[in-house]
């Protein structure tokens, strides 16, 4: 590392670096973060390092990854900066991230149960986010509903048609929520939870921002969102609020230096600035509202702002197993899409029928009807594969689709497997619906 000792996180030394204007130049950043977040950070960074000019290029996470992959031959970017750790994992696996050792002080090893930085030093957590439930107060009032604060609340029949979520295959952070629940509640129980929640979905949005947007406009009442969407919507004046359920995971948003960066030194300075106390402080800007990873930064936090380093209730229940999650990453996404995203209408109909039947037989007098409802519930709960199979590396390989060598062989094709799952799921949902309707008519 050709890093100068002066490139270090504290204010005083950052000023020194600024004086050393010889290290100047343009630093090109590929990011998925909105302008309202990158703007203040860019300003603060350039003020602290007048020698550098930050050029921010905004692309969605997946376009950003594809852009870096396609332009690797003559790379023009210095920094990749985005939320989802999985995007960084993909870049790392392709050898597109440089191994660096930025100077940073006072940042813990872990946030909740999740490791803060990549063990190999290719990317670094700079802010934390957790998933939770966001709701529109006007909407809930009009529908006479109470805000849901736990995942299990969202499975209640009164929320039917009022909930929105993004698909895990669309957003890495949504994926982590799905996986968190699967690890927290167990494979079978976790999927069952998701399906009963999904039965109450209004919609599965294509972009992760579609969920806060839907809640803000009042298109649906409650949304499963990442915390800063809730905080920043509220800060912009929307009648919305947000809560962390007990089972949630805090995950870091990350930054990494691109391999063969045209301005490697500038890139490292930017990473160091982000991790420095004054870089961390910018995260508390009302339009950004992300949880700093440096506990010292919470000293300036506004009233009521959650502090995961003191409030141990946030994201502490689940011991998140990163290896487990990584092993079945694409498989879980595919399973979610097959069982929920693509068959939402069938699932909604089945869940609604069960809810109505249960309401009618709430007294429990009719044993035959209760047995039918039980059967219907079991059909909806059924998952095509068990946990052991989900962790079988050979089976999971069907979904990674990346043959590293020409000699690699995969036994089955994803389309074949998905088609089989789909047939089973559709069949189960329609049977469950019939049974529940039969129970309702009794």
């Amino acid at each position: 590392m050709k890093l100068k000792a002066s490139l270090c996180g504290s204010i005083a030394v950052a000023a020194l670096t600024a004086g050393a204007a010889f290290a100047d130049g343009k630093v090109t950043v590929i990011t998925s973060f909105p302008e309202s977040m990158t703007g203040p950070i860019e300003k603060a960074f350039e003020a602290a390092n007048p020698g550098y000019d930050l050029e921010v290029l905004n692309k969605s996470t997946s376009s950003g990854v594809k852009f870096l992959e396609e332009t690797a031959g003559s790379n023009t970017s210095d920094i990749f900066w985005a939320s989802a750790p999985d995007a960084f994992e993909v870049l790392k696996a392709d050898g597109l991230l440089a191994k660096v050792a930025p100077k940073s002080d006072g940042i813990p090893e872990k946030i909740g149960a999740y490791p803060m930085n990549d063990a190999d030093g290719t990317y670094f957590g700079f802010a934390a986010s957790g998933y939770g439930i966001m709701w529109n107060e006007r909407y809930l009032k009009a529908h006479e509903l109470e805000p849901a604060r736990e995942w299990s609340d969202l499975t209640k029949p009164e929320y039917f048609g009022h909930v929105g979520m993004s698909a895990p295959s669309r957003s890495g952070t949504t994926h982590l929520t799905v996986e968190t629940l699967l690890q927290g509640d167990g494979w079978q129980e976790g999927w069952s939870q998701w399906k009963w929640m999904a039965g109450n979905f209004r919609t599965v949005t294509e972009r992760s921002f579609g969920v806060p947007d839907g809640v803000n406009t009042g298109n649906f009442g409650l949304g499963i969102v990442i915390d800063f969407f809730g905080f920043s919507s509220r800060a912009s004046g929307f009648p919305v609020d947000f809560a962390y359920p007990t089972v949630t995971a805090l995950v870091p948003a990350n930054v990494g230096v691109v391999k063969n960066a045209p301005n490697h030194d500038g890139a490292v300075s930017f990473v160091e600035f982000l991790l420095s106390p004054e870089g961390q402080k910018v995260l508390l800007d009302p339009a950004i509202m992300r949880l700093p990873v440096n506990p010292a930064a919470y000293a300036d936090a506004p009233e009521g702002f959650p502090n995961p380093f003191e409030d141990s209730s946030i994201g502490a229940t689940v011991k998140f197993d990163v290896d487990k999650s990584g092993a079945r990453y694409n498989l879980v996404n595919s399973l979610f899409d097959v069982m929920i995203t693509y068959r939402l209408t069938d699932l909604q109909a089945a869940v609604r029928a069960v809810q109505q039947a249960e309401e009618k037989h709430a007294g429990g007098g009719n044993a035959e009807a209760l047995a039918l409802i039980e059967e219907a519930r079991a059909l909806i709960d059924q998952t095509p594969i068990d946990e052991a199979q989900s962790l079988d590396p050979e089976f999971a390989a069907i979904f990674t689709k990346k043959r590293k060598k020409a000699t690699d062989e995969v036994e089955q094709r994803q389309a074949e497997v998905e088609s089989r799952w789909d047939a089973m799921v559709v069949d189960n949902y329609s049977k469950a619906r019939e049974l529940a309707e039969k129970a309702l008519s009794m």
Binding site: V90, N136, E206, T217, S232, T345
Partner: protein, 582 residues
């Protein structure tokens, strides 16, 4: 074939250019070859680089058609295919129901504000990404203005925006201008003598319209309807905004654009989309085959216009205003959003402000200039290529001429993200001389991507226009001693003006709000177009109003262009018309 080099490319301009610019070499063949090379380089090669995976065995990497067998073996895909087909067909029907009265009333009668209707009726095409979606939800969504008011007054809720019907509604509102523009251009080109002949023989009213007027306008109608059908079939934005996943285009997109995954089925679906679009196009050729739509006499061009009786006038105004209100509602919503503060679960915003425009204006001037530049270049090249291809396909016997048409139209079905990745893959290794940057990060490549993506629109309009020009007029010119080039300059292109302008406007307007390919290709904020700026704003709750404000700017920029060309068409028509029946 004449030995002169014809250049529809330089028509108009050519007269003022020195002769050496147009060497008298081998004529149309060179032009055809040049276009073929252009399309190969800018469309075929980049796209092939991306979608070859569709023909690869995911297990071994060998060439195979197994993926296509899987496609038809999967019930989800079969269902998606059927849904896409159903939605496209129904959208054509609904779009026709919207476009036909507008086109008929404005071309057939003396109707004040025809220019306005023709221009406003066009604006739905300019639905900027994301903002249009939000605005539609705010007006027609489950808890949008209309449903909140209906719920308050009558306790009912109409699911305008739910499921496949929602897609059909939004698509028809969005794409009916394709039919309106092409149909109007065709109606204007109908020779009055045909109508008069029919009237002399005792036909009138609906019968006259059904038997004479509409059939004569068929080239324009079919061009527009085919565009609507193919566009809806391949469109991705609307199903995604309504979160309808069980259609082909969203299935392809969802399987291609995830982080770190590239499911071969996504590319298989892309191939199927391209193949089906070409098939639909071919079907539309079959419909038109063996019929001659050209009319010879152009002296008294345009149908006879008559005045409306007072009662008819009221009815006409009623229909027109109702249709305009419906089709412009997304833009009304957009305007409200851009002037509103907070708009959440309420019929209207809580309060009004100009702040969004201030925020937007601060950093968006470059975006606006870039957009006009890129969309202008793209649309200009589109009509030049469109005219040339149309002439080659219809008027010459050059080998493989239909291939040009199919190839250019296939661009319609190529998802923007596929084209974007293909461009990066193909052009990143090539450096631009003098600038020293990779070709893929030079702004011109964005204009090229837009040109390829919007070429099908211009092409259909130019084809329809040329089909209505009689060959006899060209033969007459040539027998009077005009060269091929001069004939095309002085006779063919002037007679096609309406169609060419319609093509220009369609390409320009839609290119101005394109996002999916540009977001891959933008490599510096200084090079970014407007849609990218909207994307930047629309990612945050606080940026919604500012994004809407920029959306309004996009609409205004395009509307100015449209109205300007509308005025040119009208003036052109007046020059042609000898007088109206009073």
């Amino acid at each position: 074939m004449s030995n002169t080099h014809e250049t529809p490319v330089a028509t108009g301009l050519a007269e003022r250019m020195p002769g050496w610019l147009f060497p008298r070499l081998s004529g149309l063949h060179i032009v055809a070859l040049f276009i073929a090379l252009l399309l190969t380089g800018l469309l075929l090669i980049p796209v092939a680089q991306v979608i070859f995976v569709a023909f690869q065995n995911p297990a071994t990497g060998a060439l195979t058609l197994q993926n296509f067998v899987d496609f038809f073996g999967t019930s989800l895909f079969r269902e998606s295919f059927w849904n896409s087909f159903y939605v496209s067909a129904m959208s054509v029907v609904v779009a026709t129901a919207i476009a036909l009265p507008l086109a008929y009333i404005t071309t057939r009668f003396h109707f004040s504000g025809s220019i306005l209707i023709q221009s406003l009726g066009f604006i739905p095409l300019i639905m900027p990404p994301f903002v249009g979606a939000v605005a539609m939800q705010l007006i027609f969504g489950r808890n949008g203005t209309v449903n909140l008011l209906l719920g308050e007054r009558f306790g009912i809720n109409i699911p305008f925006m739910e499921g496949l019907n929602g897609v059909i509604l939004v698509q028809s509102i969005h794409y009916f201008p394709f039919i309106l523009i092409n149909l109007s251009a065709s109606l204007r080109n109908i020779d009055r003598s045909m109508e008069e002949a029919a009237q002399n023989l005792g036909s009138s009213g609906m019968r006259l319209f059904r038997k004479i007027v509409f059939p004569l306008a068929m080239p324009g109608y079919v061009a527009g309807a085919a565009l609507v059908f193919i566009k809806v079939f391949d469109d991705l934005g609307t199903p995604l905004l309504l979160n309808v996943n069980n259609m082909l285009a969203p299935q392809a997109y969802l399987r291609i654009s995830g982080v770190g995954i590239s499911d071969p089925m996504g590319y298989v679906i892309s191939v199927i989309l391209v193949a089906f679009s070409i098939l639909s196009l071919w079907a539309s050729f079959l419909v038109m085959r063996g019929k001659d739509y050209a009319t010879v006499q152009k002296g008294g061009g345009g149908m006879a216009k008559r005045d409306l009786k007072p009662a008819e006038k009221v009815a006409a105004y009623g229909v027109v205003i109702f249709i305009l209100l419906v089709v412009l509602s997304p833009h009304i919503g957009l305007a409200l959003l851009s002037f509103g503060t907070i708009w959440s679960f309420a019929p209207l915003p809580d309060a009004y402000t100009l702040q969004n425009y201030v925020t937007m204006w601060a950093g968006s001037k470059t975006f606006i200039v870039n957009t006009v530049l890129y969309a202008g270049i793209a649309a200009t090249l589109d009509v030049i290529l469109g005219t040339a291809i149309a002439y080659i396909v219809i008027r010459t016997k050059i080998f493989g001429r239909k291939g040009l048409d199919y190839l250019a139209t296939a661009a319609l079905a190529v998802p923007g993200v596929v084209l974007g990745i293909g461009y990066l893959r193909t052009f990143h290794a090539i450096d631009v001389p003098l600038i020293g940057k990779p070709l893929a990060s030079w702004w011109v490549i964005i204009a090229m991507a837009l040109m390829i993506r919007r070429l099908p629109y211009a092409l259909r309009a130019c084809m329809a226009a040329l089909q209505q020009v009689s060959l006899a007029l060209e033969e007459a010119a040539e027998s009077l001693g005009a060269t091929k080039r001069r004939t095309i300059q002085k006779v063919v292109v002037p007679l096609m003006t309406g169609g060419i302008l319609a093509g220009f406007v369609t390409s320009f307007a839609t290119a101005a709000v394109e996002l999916s390919a540009t977001i891959m290709l933008v490599s510096s904020n200084n090079d970014a177009p407007l849609a990218y700026g909207i994307y930047l704003f629309m990612q945050t709750p606080s940026g919604r109003g500012a994004g809407a404000a920029l959306g309004i700017v996009a609409v205004i920029v395009v509307a100015i262009g449209t109205i300007a060309s509308q005025i040119i068409i009208e003036r052109d028509k007046k020059l042609k018309a000898s007088g109206d029946v009073q």
